[in-house]
Protein backbone atom coordinates (compact mmCIF):
# COMPACT_ATOMS: atom_id res chain seq x y z
CA UNK A 1 0.00 0.00 0.00
CA UNK A 2 1.00 3.61 -0.17
CA UNK A 3 3.25 4.45 2.67
CA UNK A 4 4.25 7.98 3.53
CA UNK A 5 7.90 7.46 4.21
CA UNK A 6 8.84 5.54 1.15
CA UNK A 7 8.17 8.72 -0.79
CA UNK A 8 11.48 9.94 0.53
CA UNK A 9 13.15 7.13 -1.30
CA UNK A 10 16.69 7.65 -0.10
CA UNK A 11 15.89 6.93 3.53
CA UNK A 12 17.00 3.49 4.59
CA UNK A 13 14.37 2.84 7.28
CA UNK A 14 10.92 2.12 5.85
CA UNK A 15 8.86 2.31 9.05
CA UNK A 16 8.03 5.72 10.41
CA UNK A 17 8.84 5.05 14.00
CA UNK A 18 7.98 8.22 15.87
CA UNK A 19 11.47 9.34 16.70
CA UNK A 20 12.27 10.01 20.34
CA UNK A 21 14.20 13.14 19.41
CA UNK A 22 11.83 15.90 18.45
CA UNK A 23 13.94 18.21 16.35
CA UNK A 24 14.88 16.09 13.32
CA UNK A 25 11.32 14.82 13.19
CA UNK A 26 9.89 18.28 12.58
CA UNK A 27 12.63 18.93 10.06
CA UNK A 28 11.77 15.74 8.27
CA UNK A 29 8.07 16.49 8.27
CA UNK A 30 8.79 19.83 6.65
CA UNK A 31 10.94 18.44 3.87
CA UNK A 32 8.42 15.69 3.37
CA UNK A 33 5.55 18.08 2.84
CA UNK A 34 7.79 20.14 0.59
CA UNK A 35 8.54 17.10 -1.56
CA UNK A 36 4.86 16.27 -1.56
CA UNK A 37 3.94 19.78 -2.70
CA UNK A 38 6.57 19.69 -5.45
CA UNK A 39 5.22 16.40 -6.75
CA UNK A 40 1.65 17.65 -6.47
CA UNK A 41 2.50 20.85 -8.34
CA UNK A 42 3.99 18.93 -11.26
CA UNK A 43 0.58 17.41 -11.90
CA UNK A 44 -1.37 19.88 -14.02
CA UNK A 45 -4.71 18.18 -13.48
CA UNK A 46 -4.27 18.30 -9.71
CA UNK A 47 -3.43 22.00 -9.89
CA UNK A 48 -6.60 22.61 -11.88
CA UNK A 49 -8.49 20.79 -9.14
CA UNK A 50 -6.89 22.99 -6.50
CA UNK A 51 -7.82 26.14 -8.41
CA UNK A 52 -11.43 24.99 -8.78
CA UNK A 53 -11.55 24.13 -5.10
CA UNK A 54 -10.17 27.52 -4.08
CA UNK A 55 -12.79 29.15 -6.33
CA UNK A 56 -15.59 27.27 -4.58
CA UNK A 57 -14.20 28.16 -1.16
CA UNK A 58 -13.96 31.81 -2.19
CA UNK A 59 -17.57 31.70 -3.40
CA UNK A 60 -18.67 30.31 -0.05
CA UNK A 61 -16.60 32.85 1.89
CA UNK A 62 -17.64 35.86 -0.13
CA UNK A 63 -21.32 34.93 -0.49
CA UNK A 64 -22.44 37.73 1.81
CA UNK A 65 -20.16 40.30 0.16
CA UNK A 66 -20.87 39.58 -3.50
CA UNK A 67 -24.53 38.65 -3.15
CA UNK A 68 -25.76 40.05 0.17
CA UNK A 69 -29.14 39.18 1.61
CA UNK A 70 -31.26 36.06 1.80
CA UNK A 71 -30.74 33.99 -1.37
CA UNK A 72 -34.32 32.76 -1.13
CA UNK A 73 -35.89 36.23 -1.36
CA UNK A 74 -37.44 37.68 -4.51
CA UNK A 75 -34.75 39.70 -6.27
CA UNK A 76 -36.13 40.38 -9.72
CA UNK A 77 -38.85 39.47 -12.18
CA UNK A 78 -39.27 35.69 -12.57
CA UNK A 79 -37.33 33.79 -15.25
CA UNK A 80 -34.98 36.60 -16.26
CA UNK A 81 -32.48 35.29 -18.82
CA UNK A 82 -28.82 35.34 -17.79
CA UNK A 83 -26.70 38.31 -18.89
CA UNK A 84 -29.69 40.58 -19.55
CA UNK A 85 -30.23 42.43 -16.26
CA UNK A 86 -27.29 43.90 -14.34
CA UNK A 87 -28.69 43.12 -10.88
CA UNK A 88 -29.30 39.44 -11.77
CA UNK A 89 -26.28 38.55 -13.93
CA UNK A 90 -27.04 34.80 -13.95
CA UNK A 91 -30.80 35.27 -14.28
CA UNK A 92 -33.62 34.40 -11.89
CA UNK A 93 -35.78 31.32 -11.36
CA UNK A 94 -39.56 31.00 -11.63
CA UNK A 95 -40.07 32.69 -8.25
CA UNK A 96 -37.75 35.57 -9.11
CA UNK A 97 -34.90 34.40 -6.88
CA UNK A 98 -31.43 35.40 -8.00
CA UNK A 99 -29.53 32.39 -9.35
CA UNK A 100 -26.06 33.83 -8.71
CA UNK A 101 -26.96 34.45 -5.09
CA UNK A 102 -28.25 30.87 -4.82
CA UNK A 103 -25.04 29.48 -6.28
CA UNK A 104 -22.82 31.49 -3.91
CA UNK A 105 -24.83 30.67 -0.82
CA UNK A 106 -25.31 27.09 -1.99
CA UNK A 107 -21.53 26.70 -2.10
CA UNK A 108 -21.55 27.21 1.67
CA UNK A 109 -24.10 24.50 2.26
CA UNK A 110 -22.42 22.05 -0.10
CA UNK A 111 -18.99 22.59 1.44
CA UNK A 112 -20.28 22.56 5.01
CA UNK A 113 -22.24 19.36 4.47
CA UNK A 114 -19.33 17.81 2.60
CA UNK A 115 -16.79 18.62 5.31
CA UNK A 116 -18.88 17.68 8.34
CA UNK A 117 -20.27 14.47 6.80
CA UNK A 118 -16.76 13.46 5.74
CA UNK A 119 -15.38 14.09 9.22
CA UNK A 120 -18.18 12.01 10.73
CA UNK A 121 -17.78 9.12 8.31
CA UNK A 122 -13.97 9.08 8.55
CA UNK A 123 -14.16 9.25 12.36
CA UNK A 124 -16.53 6.27 12.55
CA UNK A 125 -14.50 4.45 9.93
CA UNK A 126 -11.19 5.06 11.70
CA UNK A 127 -12.46 3.90 15.09
CA UNK A 128 -14.14 0.75 13.76
CA UNK A 129 -11.37 -0.09 11.29
CA UNK A 130 -8.64 0.53 13.87
CA UNK A 131 -10.25 -1.60 16.56
CA UNK A 132 -11.05 -4.40 14.10
CA UNK A 133 -7.62 -4.40 12.51
CA UNK A 134 -5.66 -4.06 15.75
CA UNK A 135 -7.41 -6.66 17.87
CA UNK A 136 -8.39 -9.09 15.10
CA UNK A 137 -10.11 -12.36 15.99
CA UNK A 138 -13.68 -12.23 17.28
CA UNK A 139 -13.86 -8.46 17.61
CA UNK A 140 -12.76 -8.15 14.01
CA UNK A 141 -15.32 -10.75 12.93
CA UNK A 142 -18.18 -9.01 14.69
CA UNK A 143 -17.25 -5.55 13.44
CA UNK A 144 -16.82 -6.82 9.89
CA UNK A 145 -20.30 -8.35 9.95
CA UNK A 146 -21.70 -4.94 10.92
CA UNK A 147 -19.68 -3.33 8.12
CA UNK A 148 -20.99 -5.89 5.65
CA UNK A 149 -24.55 -5.25 6.79
CA UNK A 150 -24.11 -1.53 6.08
CA UNK A 151 -22.53 -2.31 2.72
CA UNK A 152 -25.34 -4.63 1.74
CA UNK A 153 -28.07 -2.05 2.20
CA UNK A 154 -28.02 0.42 -0.72
CA UNK A 155 -26.64 3.53 0.94
CA UNK A 156 -28.98 5.98 -0.74
CA UNK A 157 -32.01 3.91 0.31
CA UNK A 158 -30.72 3.87 3.89
CA UNK A 159 -30.19 7.62 3.70
CA UNK A 160 -33.79 8.09 2.53
CA UNK A 161 -35.02 5.88 5.36
CA UNK A 162 -33.06 7.80 8.00
CA UNK A 163 -34.36 11.09 6.65
CA UNK A 164 -37.91 9.71 6.51
CA UNK A 165 -37.75 8.64 10.16
CA UNK A 166 -35.77 11.44 11.79
CA UNK A 167 -36.79 14.38 9.60
CA UNK A 168 -34.90 16.40 7.04
CA UNK A 169 -33.24 19.17 9.01
CA UNK A 170 -29.71 19.95 7.92
CA UNK A 171 -28.14 18.38 11.04
CA UNK A 172 -29.95 15.09 10.50
CA UNK A 173 -28.94 15.03 6.83
CA UNK A 174 -25.26 15.55 7.67
CA UNK A 175 -25.26 12.84 10.32
CA UNK A 176 -27.20 10.46 8.07
CA UNK A 177 -24.72 10.94 5.20
CA UNK A 178 -21.90 10.22 7.65
CA UNK A 179 -23.66 7.08 8.87
CA UNK A 180 -24.17 5.64 5.39
CA UNK A 181 -20.64 6.27 4.12
CA UNK A 182 -18.19 5.05 6.76
CA UNK A 183 -17.76 1.49 5.49
CA UNK A 184 -15.11 2.09 2.83
CA UNK A 185 -12.80 4.11 5.13
CA UNK A 186 -13.29 1.48 7.84
CA UNK A 187 -12.13 -1.31 5.51
CA UNK A 188 -9.19 0.78 4.43
CA UNK A 189 -8.05 1.58 7.98
CA UNK A 190 -8.51 -2.04 8.97
CA UNK A 191 -6.26 -3.24 6.16
CA UNK A 192 -3.59 -0.68 7.12
CA UNK A 193 -3.76 -1.69 10.78
CA UNK A 194 -3.50 -5.38 9.98
CA UNK A 195 -0.28 -4.81 8.10
CA UNK A 196 1.13 -2.34 10.61
CA UNK A 197 0.36 -4.08 13.89
CA UNK A 198 3.09 -6.68 13.38
CA UNK A 199 5.77 -4.05 12.82
CA UNK A 200 8.67 -3.70 15.20
CA UNK A 201 7.82 -0.24 16.45
CA UNK A 202 4.47 -1.53 17.63
CA UNK A 203 6.11 -4.42 19.47
CA UNK A 204 8.57 -1.96 20.98
CA UNK A 205 5.77 0.27 22.23
CA UNK A 206 3.93 -2.73 23.64
CA UNK A 207 7.05 -3.90 25.49
CA UNK A 208 7.36 -0.45 27.00
CA UNK A 209 3.94 -0.99 28.52
CA UNK A 210 2.06 1.50 26.36
CA UNK A 211 -1.69 0.87 26.53
CA UNK A 212 -3.64 -0.51 23.59
CA UNK A 213 -5.51 2.76 23.17
CA UNK A 214 -2.41 4.86 22.82
CA UNK A 215 -0.73 2.31 20.57
CA UNK A 216 -3.76 2.51 18.28
CA UNK A 217 -4.15 6.26 18.22
CA UNK A 218 -0.62 7.54 18.78
CA UNK A 219 1.63 4.92 17.27
CA UNK A 220 -0.22 3.19 14.42
CA UNK A 221 -2.84 5.70 13.34
CA UNK A 222 -0.45 8.44 12.15
CA UNK A 223 1.15 5.86 9.85
CA UNK A 224 -2.17 4.56 8.57
CA UNK A 225 -3.65 7.97 7.91
CA UNK A 226 -2.22 9.20 4.54
CA UNK A 227 -4.25 6.87 2.28
CA UNK A 228 -7.32 7.68 4.37
CA UNK A 229 -6.75 11.40 3.87
CA UNK A 230 -6.59 10.83 0.13
CA UNK A 231 -9.75 8.77 0.30
CA UNK A 232 -11.46 11.57 2.22
CA UNK A 233 -11.63 13.50 -1.04
CA UNK A 234 -13.73 10.70 -2.52
CA UNK A 235 -15.99 10.64 0.55
CA UNK A 236 -16.35 14.41 0.32
CA UNK A 237 -17.32 14.29 -3.35
CA UNK A 238 -19.82 11.53 -2.57
CA UNK A 239 -21.32 13.44 0.36
CA UNK A 240 -21.89 16.49 -1.80
CA UNK A 241 -23.48 14.33 -4.51
CA UNK A 242 -25.73 12.61 -1.96
CA UNK A 243 -26.87 15.88 -0.40
CA UNK A 244 -27.64 17.38 -3.78
CA UNK A 245 -29.54 14.26 -4.87
CA UNK A 246 -31.57 14.46 -1.67
CA UNK A 247 -32.27 18.15 -2.19
CA UNK A 248 -33.09 17.50 -5.84
CA UNK A 249 -35.81 15.07 -4.75
CA UNK A 250 -37.19 17.79 -2.49
CA UNK A 251 -36.15 15.96 0.68
CA UNK A 252 -33.46 18.40 1.77
CA UNK A 253 -33.70 21.17 4.34
CA UNK A 254 -36.00 23.77 2.75
CA UNK A 255 -34.54 26.63 4.81
CA UNK A 256 -31.24 26.75 2.95
CA UNK A 257 -30.32 27.47 -0.65
CA UNK A 258 -28.94 24.23 -2.05
CA UNK A 259 -27.66 23.47 -5.54
CA UNK A 260 -29.58 20.20 -5.69
CA UNK A 261 -32.78 21.95 -4.71
CA UNK A 262 -32.25 24.61 -7.39
CA UNK A 263 -31.91 21.91 -10.04
CA UNK A 264 -34.98 20.14 -8.72
CA UNK A 265 -37.07 23.29 -8.97
CA UNK A 266 -35.55 24.21 -12.31
CA UNK A 267 -36.82 20.88 -13.63
CA UNK A 268 -40.36 22.30 -13.73
CA UNK A 269 -39.28 25.02 -16.16
CA UNK A 270 -36.74 22.95 -18.09
CA UNK A 271 -38.56 23.50 -21.38
CA UNK A 272 -38.46 27.29 -21.29
CA UNK A 273 -35.62 28.20 -18.90
CA UNK A 274 -32.91 25.56 -19.08
CA UNK A 275 -30.39 27.82 -17.28
CA UNK A 276 -32.30 27.43 -13.97
CA UNK A 277 -31.08 23.85 -13.67
CA UNK A 278 -27.96 23.93 -15.85
CA UNK A 279 -26.10 26.61 -13.86
CA UNK A 280 -26.33 24.83 -10.48
CA UNK A 281 -25.65 21.53 -12.26
CA UNK A 282 -22.38 22.85 -13.61
CA UNK A 283 -21.54 24.13 -10.12
CA UNK A 284 -21.94 20.63 -8.64
CA UNK A 285 -20.02 19.10 -11.54
CA UNK A 286 -17.04 21.42 -11.11
CA UNK A 287 -16.98 21.07 -7.31
CA UNK A 288 -17.00 17.28 -7.42
CA UNK A 289 -14.43 17.36 -10.23
CA UNK A 290 -12.13 19.50 -8.10
CA UNK A 291 -12.17 16.91 -5.33
CA UNK A 292 -11.47 14.02 -7.68
CA UNK A 293 -8.61 15.88 -9.35
CA UNK A 294 -7.04 16.87 -6.05
CA UNK A 295 -7.46 13.41 -4.58
CA UNK A 296 -5.84 11.89 -7.62
CA UNK A 297 -2.96 14.36 -7.49
CA UNK A 298 -2.39 13.66 -3.80
CA UNK A 299 -2.51 9.94 -4.43
CA UNK A 300 0.10 10.18 -7.18
CA UNK A 301 2.27 12.44 -5.03
CA UNK A 302 2.11 10.00 -2.12
CA UNK A 303 2.62 6.90 -4.23
CA UNK A 304 6.32 6.40 -4.86
CA UNK A 305 5.77 3.68 -7.43
CA UNK A 306 4.12 5.97 -9.93
CA UNK A 307 7.08 7.89 -11.24
CA UNK A 308 6.95 8.90 -14.80
Amino acid sequence: MTHPDTSVASRPLPAASPAPIALPDIDLAQTRSLVLWRRFRRNRAALLGLILFVAVVLMAALADVVTPGDPLRIAGSPLTDPLTVASNPWGTDQLGRDIMSGIFHGARISLAIGVVATVISIAIGVVIGAVAGYFGGRIDGALMRVTEAFQTIPSFVLLLTLVAIFGSSIEIIVIAIGIVSWTAPARMVRAEFMSLRRREFVDAARNLGVSDMSIIFREILPNALPPVVVFASVVMANSILMESALAFLGLGDPNYASWGNMIGQGRAVLRTAWFCSVIPGVAILLTVLSFSLMGEGLNDALNPRQKR
Partner: protein, 317 residues
Amino acid sequence: MRRLVQAIPTIILIMIGSFLLIKLAPGDTVDALVGDMGGADPAFVARLRAEYGLDQSVFVQLWRYMLKLVQLDFGWSYVYEQPVIEVLMSRLANTLLLMVSSLVVAFTFGVALGAIAARRAYSWTDNMISTLGLVFYAMPSFFLSLLLILIFSVKLGWLPVGGIRTIGAFKTGWADVADVARHLVMPTAALSLIYLAFYMRLMRTSVLEVMDLDFVRTARAKGAGGARLMFHHVMRNALLPVVTLLGLQFSTVLGGSVVVETIFSLPGIGQLAYTSVVKRDLNTLMGIIALSSIIVVIVNVLTDLIYAWLDPRIELK
Protein backbone atom coordinates in the same frame (compact mmCIF):
# COMPACT_ATOMS: atom_id res chain seq x y z
CA MET B 1 -22.66 -22.40 -0.64
CA ARG B 2 -20.28 -21.19 2.04
CA ARG B 3 -20.76 -17.65 0.84
CA LEU B 4 -24.49 -18.01 1.39
CA VAL B 5 -23.98 -19.29 4.92
CA GLN B 6 -21.60 -16.44 5.63
CA ALA B 7 -24.25 -13.97 4.55
CA ILE B 8 -26.71 -15.18 7.19
CA PRO B 9 -25.35 -13.10 10.11
CA THR B 10 -25.29 -10.06 7.85
CA ILE B 11 -28.94 -10.55 6.93
CA ILE B 12 -29.87 -11.07 10.59
CA LEU B 13 -28.06 -7.84 11.52
CA ILE B 14 -29.96 -5.97 8.82
CA MET B 15 -33.25 -7.37 10.15
CA ILE B 16 -32.42 -6.26 13.71
CA GLY B 17 -31.33 -2.87 12.40
CA SER B 18 -34.51 -2.28 10.45
CA PHE B 19 -36.59 -3.40 13.44
CA LEU B 20 -34.77 -0.88 15.64
CA LEU B 21 -35.39 1.84 13.05
CA ILE B 22 -39.11 1.11 13.07
CA LYS B 23 -39.09 1.23 16.88
CA LEU B 24 -37.20 4.53 16.83
CA ALA B 25 -39.72 6.11 14.49
CA PRO B 26 -42.26 8.18 16.39
CA GLY B 27 -45.62 6.44 16.70
CA ASP B 28 -46.54 2.81 15.98
CA THR B 29 -49.13 0.99 13.87
CA VAL B 30 -51.87 1.50 16.45
CA ASP B 31 -51.19 5.24 16.60
CA ALA B 32 -51.57 5.37 12.84
CA LEU B 33 -54.79 3.33 12.92
CA VAL B 34 -56.32 5.34 15.73
CA GLY B 35 -55.27 8.53 13.98
CA ASP B 36 -57.10 7.35 10.86
CA MET B 37 -60.23 6.59 12.91
CA GLY B 38 -60.14 10.02 14.44
CA GLY B 39 -59.41 8.89 18.00
CA ALA B 40 -60.53 6.09 20.28
CA ASP B 41 -60.85 5.45 24.01
CA PRO B 42 -57.79 4.15 25.92
CA ALA B 43 -59.26 0.68 26.56
CA PHE B 44 -59.76 0.11 22.85
CA VAL B 45 -56.25 1.36 22.12
CA ALA B 46 -54.86 -1.08 24.68
CA ARG B 47 -56.84 -3.94 23.13
CA LEU B 48 -55.55 -3.04 19.66
CA ARG B 49 -51.99 -3.00 21.02
CA ALA B 50 -52.50 -6.46 22.49
CA GLU B 51 -53.97 -7.68 19.21
CA TYR B 52 -50.94 -6.49 17.24
CA GLY B 53 -48.57 -7.86 19.88
CA LEU B 54 -47.27 -4.40 20.69
CA ASP B 55 -47.71 -4.96 24.45
CA GLN B 56 -45.10 -7.73 24.43
CA SER B 57 -41.45 -7.15 25.32
CA VAL B 58 -39.15 -5.79 22.65
CA PHE B 59 -37.40 -9.15 22.24
CA VAL B 60 -40.65 -11.03 21.63
CA GLN B 61 -41.60 -8.39 19.07
CA LEU B 62 -38.21 -8.67 17.40
CA TRP B 63 -38.52 -12.47 17.23
CA ARG B 64 -41.97 -12.25 15.65
CA TYR B 65 -40.76 -9.60 13.22
CA MET B 66 -37.88 -11.80 12.10
CA LEU B 67 -40.10 -14.85 11.73
CA LYS B 68 -42.36 -12.82 9.45
CA LEU B 69 -39.43 -11.53 7.40
CA VAL B 70 -38.09 -15.05 6.88
CA GLN B 71 -41.46 -15.96 5.35
CA LEU B 72 -41.11 -12.87 3.10
CA ASP B 73 -44.02 -11.25 4.91
CA PHE B 74 -43.13 -7.57 4.96
CA GLY B 75 -46.45 -6.42 6.37
CA TRP B 76 -49.20 -4.30 4.89
CA SER B 77 -48.75 -1.14 2.87
CA TYR B 78 -51.30 1.41 4.07
CA VAL B 79 -50.66 3.59 1.03
CA TYR B 80 -51.24 0.92 -1.63
CA GLU B 81 -53.74 -1.13 0.45
CA GLN B 82 -51.86 -4.29 -0.52
CA PRO B 83 -49.35 -6.58 1.15
CA VAL B 84 -45.90 -4.97 0.75
CA ILE B 85 -44.48 -8.05 -0.96
CA GLU B 86 -47.05 -7.74 -3.77
CA VAL B 87 -46.26 -4.07 -4.29
CA LEU B 88 -42.56 -4.93 -4.43
CA MET B 89 -42.92 -7.87 -6.80
CA SER B 90 -45.02 -5.88 -9.27
CA ARG B 91 -42.13 -3.43 -9.60
CA LEU B 92 -39.10 -5.65 -9.24
CA ALA B 93 -38.88 -6.59 -12.93
CA ASN B 94 -38.58 -2.99 -14.10
CA THR B 95 -35.80 -2.21 -11.63
CA LEU B 96 -33.87 -5.37 -12.46
CA LEU B 97 -34.21 -4.59 -16.17
CA LEU B 98 -32.85 -1.09 -15.65
CA MET B 99 -30.00 -2.29 -13.44
CA VAL B 100 -28.93 -5.11 -15.70
CA SER B 101 -28.97 -2.92 -18.79
CA SER B 102 -27.06 -0.15 -16.99
CA LEU B 103 -24.44 -2.53 -15.63
CA VAL B 104 -23.99 -4.24 -18.99
CA VAL B 105 -23.50 -0.87 -20.68
CA ALA B 106 -21.17 0.38 -17.95
CA PHE B 107 -19.15 -2.84 -17.90
CA THR B 108 -18.81 -3.25 -21.68
CA PHE B 109 -17.87 0.33 -22.45
CA GLY B 110 -15.85 0.76 -19.27
CA VAL B 111 -13.73 -2.32 -19.92
CA ALA B 112 -13.28 -1.52 -23.61
CA LEU B 113 -12.35 2.12 -23.08
CA GLY B 114 -10.11 1.26 -20.13
CA ALA B 115 -8.25 -1.35 -22.17
CA ILE B 116 -7.82 1.06 -25.09
CA ALA B 117 -6.55 3.77 -22.75
CA ALA B 118 -4.04 1.35 -21.22
CA ARG B 119 -2.85 0.10 -24.62
CA ARG B 120 -1.98 3.67 -25.57
CA ALA B 121 -0.98 4.80 -22.09
CA TYR B 122 -0.01 8.48 -21.75
CA SER B 123 -0.97 9.23 -25.35
CA TRP B 124 -3.49 11.77 -26.54
CA THR B 125 -6.21 9.07 -26.71
CA ASP B 126 -5.48 8.02 -23.14
CA ASN B 127 -5.62 11.59 -21.83
CA MET B 128 -8.89 12.14 -23.66
CA ILE B 129 -10.47 8.98 -22.24
CA SER B 130 -9.18 9.59 -18.72
CA THR B 131 -10.41 13.19 -18.63
CA LEU B 132 -13.78 12.08 -19.90
CA GLY B 133 -13.87 9.49 -17.12
CA LEU B 134 -13.30 12.15 -14.46
CA VAL B 135 -16.09 14.30 -15.89
CA PHE B 136 -18.44 11.30 -16.00
CA TYR B 137 -17.58 10.57 -12.39
CA ALA B 138 -18.34 14.13 -11.28
CA MET B 139 -21.63 14.32 -13.17
CA PRO B 140 -24.60 13.85 -10.82
CA SER B 141 -27.03 11.36 -12.35
CA PHE B 142 -30.01 13.67 -11.86
CA PHE B 143 -28.28 16.51 -13.69
CA LEU B 144 -27.32 14.20 -16.53
CA SER B 145 -30.92 12.97 -16.72
CA LEU B 146 -32.21 16.51 -17.06
CA LEU B 147 -29.64 17.31 -19.75
CA LEU B 148 -30.62 14.17 -21.67
CA ILE B 149 -34.30 15.06 -21.40
CA LEU B 150 -33.54 18.62 -22.51
CA ILE B 151 -31.62 17.46 -25.57
CA PHE B 152 -33.33 14.26 -26.70
CA SER B 153 -36.93 14.88 -25.61
CA VAL B 154 -37.47 18.62 -25.53
CA LYS B 155 -35.21 19.83 -28.34
CA LEU B 156 -34.98 16.83 -30.67
CA GLY B 157 -38.11 14.93 -29.66
CA TRP B 158 -36.48 11.56 -30.29
CA LEU B 159 -37.07 9.80 -27.00
CA PRO B 160 -40.01 9.66 -24.55
CA VAL B 161 -39.66 11.74 -21.36
CA GLY B 162 -40.66 8.99 -18.95
CA GLY B 163 -42.59 5.84 -18.18
CA ILE B 164 -41.82 2.30 -19.25
CA ARG B 165 -44.32 1.93 -22.11
CA THR B 166 -46.25 4.32 -24.33
CA ILE B 167 -49.55 4.83 -22.52
CA GLY B 168 -52.55 3.46 -24.37
CA ALA B 169 -50.53 1.93 -27.20
CA PHE B 170 -50.99 -1.71 -26.06
CA LYS B 171 -48.25 -3.05 -28.28
CA THR B 172 -47.44 -6.73 -28.33
CA GLY B 173 -44.50 -8.92 -29.22
CA TRP B 174 -41.43 -7.23 -30.68
CA ALA B 175 -43.16 -3.88 -30.94
CA ASP B 176 -43.60 -3.97 -27.17
CA VAL B 177 -39.96 -4.88 -26.62
CA ALA B 178 -38.84 -2.03 -28.86
CA ASP B 179 -41.15 0.34 -27.03
CA VAL B 180 -39.72 -0.61 -23.62
CA ALA B 181 -36.20 -0.35 -24.99
CA ARG B 182 -36.87 3.15 -26.29
CA HIS B 183 -38.10 4.16 -22.84
CA LEU B 184 -35.02 2.69 -21.20
CA VAL B 185 -32.35 4.42 -23.31
CA MET B 186 -32.07 7.61 -21.27
CA PRO B 187 -32.46 6.06 -17.78
CA THR B 188 -29.80 3.49 -18.66
CA ALA B 189 -27.42 6.16 -19.89
CA ALA B 190 -28.01 8.30 -16.80
CA LEU B 191 -27.51 5.43 -14.35
CA SER B 192 -24.56 3.76 -16.07
CA LEU B 193 -22.29 6.72 -16.74
CA ILE B 194 -20.73 7.03 -13.28
CA TYR B 195 -20.07 3.28 -13.09
CA LEU B 196 -18.68 3.35 -16.59
CA ALA B 197 -16.15 5.86 -15.28
CA PHE B 198 -15.27 3.59 -12.33
CA TYR B 199 -14.75 0.47 -14.47
CA MET B 200 -12.80 2.41 -17.05
CA ARG B 201 -10.30 3.73 -14.54
CA LEU B 202 -9.92 0.43 -12.76
CA MET B 203 -9.52 -1.46 -16.03
CA ARG B 204 -6.87 0.98 -17.20
CA THR B 205 -4.72 0.53 -14.05
CA SER B 206 -5.36 -3.18 -14.03
CA VAL B 207 -4.32 -3.69 -17.67
CA LEU B 208 -1.22 -1.56 -17.12
CA GLU B 209 -0.26 -3.73 -14.16
CA VAL B 210 -0.89 -7.04 -15.92
CA MET B 211 1.05 -5.99 -19.03
CA ASP B 212 4.17 -5.70 -16.89
CA LEU B 213 3.90 -9.26 -15.59
CA ASP B 214 6.26 -12.05 -16.64
CA PHE B 215 3.72 -14.32 -18.27
CA VAL B 216 2.77 -11.59 -20.71
CA ARG B 217 6.40 -11.31 -21.78
CA THR B 218 6.51 -15.09 -22.13
CA ALA B 219 3.40 -15.07 -24.27
CA ARG B 220 4.87 -12.35 -26.42
CA ALA B 221 8.12 -14.30 -26.75
CA LYS B 222 6.13 -17.34 -27.89
CA GLY B 223 4.80 -15.23 -30.72
CA ALA B 224 1.37 -14.28 -29.40
CA GLY B 225 0.75 -10.73 -30.47
CA GLY B 226 -1.86 -8.10 -31.03
CA ALA B 227 -5.41 -9.18 -30.40
CA ARG B 228 -4.62 -12.63 -29.03
CA LEU B 229 -2.20 -11.27 -26.46
CA MET B 230 -4.66 -8.59 -25.43
CA PHE B 231 -7.82 -10.68 -25.20
CA HIS B 232 -6.51 -14.07 -24.18
CA HIS B 233 -3.65 -13.19 -21.87
CA VAL B 234 -4.04 -9.66 -20.59
CA MET B 235 -7.76 -8.89 -20.47
CA ARG B 236 -8.77 -12.11 -18.79
CA ASN B 237 -6.46 -11.41 -15.88
CA ALA B 238 -7.08 -7.69 -15.79
CA LEU B 239 -10.83 -8.29 -15.50
CA LEU B 240 -10.57 -9.79 -12.00
CA PRO B 241 -10.56 -6.54 -9.97
CA VAL B 242 -13.26 -5.09 -12.22
CA VAL B 243 -15.54 -8.05 -11.50
CA THR B 244 -14.93 -7.60 -7.78
CA LEU B 245 -15.93 -3.95 -8.03
CA LEU B 246 -19.02 -4.92 -10.03
CA GLY B 247 -20.21 -7.10 -7.17
CA LEU B 248 -19.32 -4.56 -4.50
CA GLN B 249 -21.10 -1.74 -6.26
CA PHE B 250 -24.32 -3.51 -7.01
CA SER B 251 -25.96 -2.05 -3.92
CA THR B 252 -24.88 1.48 -4.88
CA VAL B 253 -26.46 1.01 -8.29
CA LEU B 254 -29.70 0.01 -6.56
CA GLY B 255 -29.47 3.21 -4.53
CA GLY B 256 -28.79 5.27 -7.63
CA SER B 257 -31.90 3.89 -9.30
CA VAL B 258 -33.99 5.84 -6.77
CA VAL B 259 -33.11 9.15 -8.40
CA VAL B 260 -33.15 7.93 -11.99
CA GLU B 261 -36.45 6.04 -11.68
CA THR B 262 -38.06 9.02 -10.00
CA ILE B 263 -37.00 11.42 -12.77
CA PHE B 264 -38.08 9.14 -15.61
CA SER B 265 -41.18 7.98 -13.69
CA LEU B 266 -40.26 4.34 -14.18
CA PRO B 267 -42.48 2.23 -11.94
CA GLY B 268 -39.70 0.37 -10.12
CA ILE B 269 -38.36 -0.24 -6.62
CA GLY B 270 -36.38 3.01 -6.58
CA GLN B 271 -39.36 5.16 -7.40
CA LEU B 272 -41.32 3.21 -4.80
CA ALA B 273 -38.67 4.09 -2.19
CA TYR B 274 -39.09 7.76 -3.01
CA THR B 275 -42.89 7.74 -2.82
CA SER B 276 -42.74 5.71 0.41
CA VAL B 277 -40.55 8.38 1.98
CA VAL B 278 -42.85 11.17 0.83
CA LYS B 279 -45.95 9.31 2.04
CA ARG B 280 -44.30 7.94 5.23
CA ASP B 281 -44.99 4.33 4.25
CA LEU B 282 -42.45 2.75 6.60
CA ASN B 283 -43.52 -0.87 6.05
CA THR B 284 -42.86 -0.56 2.34
CA LEU B 285 -39.56 1.18 2.98
CA MET B 286 -38.39 -1.63 5.27
CA GLY B 287 -39.56 -4.16 2.70
CA ILE B 288 -37.41 -2.41 0.11
CA ILE B 289 -34.39 -2.57 2.41
CA ALA B 290 -34.94 -6.27 3.08
CA LEU B 291 -35.54 -7.14 -0.58
CA SER B 292 -32.58 -5.15 -1.86
CA SER B 293 -30.31 -6.76 0.75
CA ILE B 294 -31.38 -10.19 -0.45
CA ILE B 295 -30.70 -9.19 -4.05
CA VAL B 296 -27.28 -7.83 -3.15
CA VAL B 297 -26.34 -11.04 -1.32
CA ILE B 298 -27.42 -13.14 -4.31
CA VAL B 299 -25.42 -10.93 -6.67
CA ASN B 300 -22.35 -11.27 -4.47
CA VAL B 301 -22.58 -15.05 -4.69
CA LEU B 302 -22.92 -14.79 -8.48
CA THR B 303 -19.86 -12.55 -8.58
CA ASP B 304 -17.89 -15.20 -6.74
CA LEU B 305 -18.94 -17.76 -9.33
CA ILE B 306 -17.82 -15.50 -12.18
CA TYR B 307 -14.60 -14.88 -10.34
CA ALA B 308 -13.87 -18.58 -10.02
CA TRP B 309 -14.62 -19.05 -13.70
CA LEU B 310 -12.22 -16.27 -14.66
CA ASP B 311 -9.47 -17.38 -12.30
CA PRO B 312 -9.16 -21.17 -12.01
CA ARG B 313 -6.74 -20.78 -9.11
CA ILE B 314 -9.62 -19.79 -6.85
CA GLU B 315 -11.63 -22.73 -5.63
CA LEU B 316 -15.24 -22.40 -4.68
CA LYS B 317 -14.97 -24.31 -1.42
